[in-house]
Amino acid sequence: MSDVVDILVEREYAYGFHADLETELAPKGLDEDVVRLISAKKQEPAWLLEWRLAAFRHFLTLEEPTWPNVHHPPIDYQDMHYWAAPKPKGPAPKSLDEVDPQIRAEFDKLGISLAEQERLSGVAVDAVMDSISVATTFKAKLAEAGVIFCSFSEAVREHPELVRRYLGSVVPFRDNFFAALNSAVFSDGSFCFIPAGVQCPMELSTYFRINAAETGQFERTLIVAEEGASVSYLEGCTAPKRDENQLHAAVVELVALDDASIKYSTVQNWYPGDADGKGGIFNFVTKRGRAGNRATISWTQVETGSAITWKYPSVILQGDDSVGEFYSVAVTTHHQQADTGTKMIHIGRNTTSTILSKGISAGHAQNTYRGLVKVLRSATGARNHTRCDSLLIGPDCGAHTFPYIEVKNDTAQVEHEASTSKVSDDQLFYCRQRGLTEEDATSMIVNGFCREVFDELPMEYAVEAQALMRLTLEGAVG
């Protein structure tokens, strides 16, 4: 087993390159002028600037929370750039062919070939580099169905009434420290609107990439599914290798109106830092969805990257008979830390939620599941089932389970179960007896451990997630 751990600890980050793109940077630091500058750069309407400034003023009154089970040097919020954009080499691209070839090359390297995606895979992609959305594919085809899928900036320009109606409606800027910061300085992100009764004809996907150094990335994603609409949305993330930590504080808001369904999948592979825990992304994200009557919101996440992952994709089950789901695999190796989980707030009658969390911890990593299931007095007939399992690989890692269950309704049925163990010696022995190497055997066992979550991912991503898992646990997993 110790060999496996050694190899595991030596794995390399495959997406650590960066492109020497000319980048336009705001000066370091954060004050009202920077907020105004960002808003001006994006030619935003006055109401949005006012909203940003209100968020910024609120941010100044807050203190950074210290309760999560993660440890990092203090973040200097004045020592980073809040605006970084690949410098345009002319007017904005009108079609994919006009996108800067260097940017396209970078996305090709990441396996997100924008052109190929358009031709072959039938997945619409919005690619976000640093603060700016650089390309969105398949727009025309989506428009035929009435689906709006574009960068956030474009949505502010083209569909201000929709943005204004839903922005901050699920995660208000007063929500928490990082939500306030994001609301003040958010740069870009994806906007997605599926009109009533429309089943989105293809998977939507956003690819986030941090390229510039000493920048924070603060994107904002807003997905609105009107009555009876449905959509499946994927996000992927990578960043170059750098010695300093970079902050990524995003906000994702999902609005599922009556009978709508939103499936949100994440494969998060930000740069995790080197073997000694130097560098890496601080991934502090607020994700929340609001479900109307009979609506479904499903979060699936595969978290393998980031020096620190700290997020709780949540569902407010406001409507009667609404459904919330959370499926998560979080892998931490080296000195990575993860404090992740979910919150399910049951408000409507006969609301159901399912939580399935798998944590894998190796090396010196610390992996924490933290989850809240809250059943309010009004949530008659609420149901929740939670299962969280942790797998430990090596004697120096940690796995923690911090569930909170608060029930105020006597008709609710809430169940929570959890287990923590190492890779079973018996299972390993059985596999090795059948001629598998220890690494292959561990790979099989770990993949089996995560299977139930991978099954929830859209097909293309399930394959990618398994490949990523192999890569992340390289050595341990063959």
Binding site: L392, F402, A418
Partner: protein
């Protein structure tokens, strides 16, 4: 933690601390203050109400004229063995039965303890929280149970703490120390009961289970309806020791019982049961910490809550497996039955694991009575109300049936039935 409300220290703590421990408690409290609901461990405790009651409280009178032997029998029962009775935290010899000479057992209070050589580790203790610090600072006496190495005690030792308030709220700070020598066997029953009236009981118990000892500890909190109870029990287990601990909460208006178990030696095991039954507007709060700081230890927690009316029951369990330990086995379960639309159950079954050679599981459920089981009973001709009572009793039976001796089990069963109107 917050600053201790001005005047609280002056009013409740004697001006010249009677012992170094009391001095440490006072200094700690002055430096750190009492906890607030912003402290994670006190999240589910209405700590503001408790502090409010303390602010209004006077030190409890030491007068014990109301408490006779028959009163103690009625409140806490007679379980056959020796009995130490403390009223408002002060030893009451007239109601006690120190048992004459039981081989290998020494029972006493602060006066008796002073005559004995001090325990070396007692000088280094620091309070775990503000309430324990207050207990040390303001406590006036201590119940001491010392079991000599190898002594095998057949009869249970009963320590009774009675809150005897006046017309206004009074505060009392009972402290209990139990030292079970290596290889000894002892069964301890700790009863917290009270006479009617508003009181705040702030209890602190320390049990040291020596290597190879077997300790059974039953803690029963059945105080008066207006009482507030905050208790902390710390149990340190030596190598190969066996602990069976049970915490029963039926009384009080607001009651919190914290139980902290630590394994200091290898191959020890702890079996911890709990039952809490908030009714009316009662609030019962359980906080359990099991610290696996030695290898090859096993712990099992089984806590059952039945919440009814406007009651609120909470369980916070925390299993900590330290870095460098091996062969840990830890299990935790918390089942809750919610019987009224206005009742509330909160549970936090936590695992914090820093070693890989572990087998840890936990489970928690919150639900109501099983409709199918009720239907089954009704189809057999059992009326609805009786069927419900049977199922509720069955839910608690796992914990109650395991209580020993029978006299205590019957008392708890009777208190349970009385609370449930059966």
């Amino acid at each position: 933690m917050t600053a201790t409300p001005a005047g609280l220290l002056d009013r409740l703590v004697p001006p010249s601390p009677p012992s170094p421990r009391a001095e440490r408690g006072r200094d700690w409290l002055a430096a750190h203050g009492l906890p607030t609901t912003r402290d994670e461990a006190w999240r589910y405790t209405p700590v503001d109400d408790i502090v409010g009651a303390l602010e209004a409280a006077a030190p409890a009178p030491a007068s014990t004229s109301q408490v006779s032997r028959s009163v103690v029998d009625a409140l806490a029962g007679d379980h056959g063995g020796p009995r130490l009775v403390f009223v408002n935290g002060v030893f009451e010899p007239r109601a006690s039965d120190a048992g004459g000479a039981v081989d290998g057992l020494w029972l006493g209070n602060r006066d008796g303890m002073r005559a004995r050589p001090p325990s070396p580790r007692a000088a280094e203790d620091q309070p775990a929280d503000g309430f324990q610090a207050l207990n040390w600072a303001a406590g006036r006496d201590v119940a001491a149970v010392l079991v000599e190495p190898g002594a095998q005690l057949d009869q249970p030792v009963h320590v009774v703490h009675i809150a005897a308030p006046g017309e206004d709220t009074t505060a009392n700070h009972p402290r209990t120390v139990v030292l079970a020598g290596p290889g000894s066997r002892v069964h301890l029953i700790e009863s917290y009961v009270g006479l009617p009236g508003p009181s705040v009981t702030n209890a602190s118990t320390r049990i040291v289970a020596g290597a190879g000892s077997t300790v059974t500890h039953h803690r029963v909190q059945d105080e008066a309806a207006a009482a507030i109870h905050v208790g902390r029990t710390a149990i340190d287990q030596g190598a190969r020791s066996t602990l069976r601990a049970t915490s029963i909460m039926t009384g009080g208006h607001i009651a919190r019982s914290a139980l902290a178990i630590g394994f200091d030696g290898t191959d020890a095991c702890a079996d911890i049961d709990g039952l809490y039954l908030p009714l009316g507007h009662q609030h019962h709060d359980n906080v359990v910490t099991v610290d696996h700081r030695a290898s090859h230890c096993a712990s099992t927690q089984r806590f059952t809550g039945i919440v009814d009316d406007h009651g609120r029951g909470s369980f916070s369990g925390h299993v900590l497996v330290r870095h460098g330990t091996t062969g840990t086995d830890a299990h935790q379960s918390n089942r809750n039955l919610v019987l009224a639309p206005t009742a509330q159950a909160d549970t936090r079954p936590w695992l914090e694991i820093l070693a890989d050679d572990v087998r840890c599981t936990h489970g928690a459920t919150v639900g109501r009575l099983d409709d199918d089981a009720l239907f089954y009973l009704r189809s057999r001709g059992i009326p609805l109300e009786q069927g419900r009572a049977m199922l509720v009793a069955g839910f608690a039976a796992e914990i109650i049936d395991a209580i020993t001796p029978a006299t205590l089990r019957d008392r708890v069963a009777a208190a349970f039935a009385a609370g449930r109107g059966g």
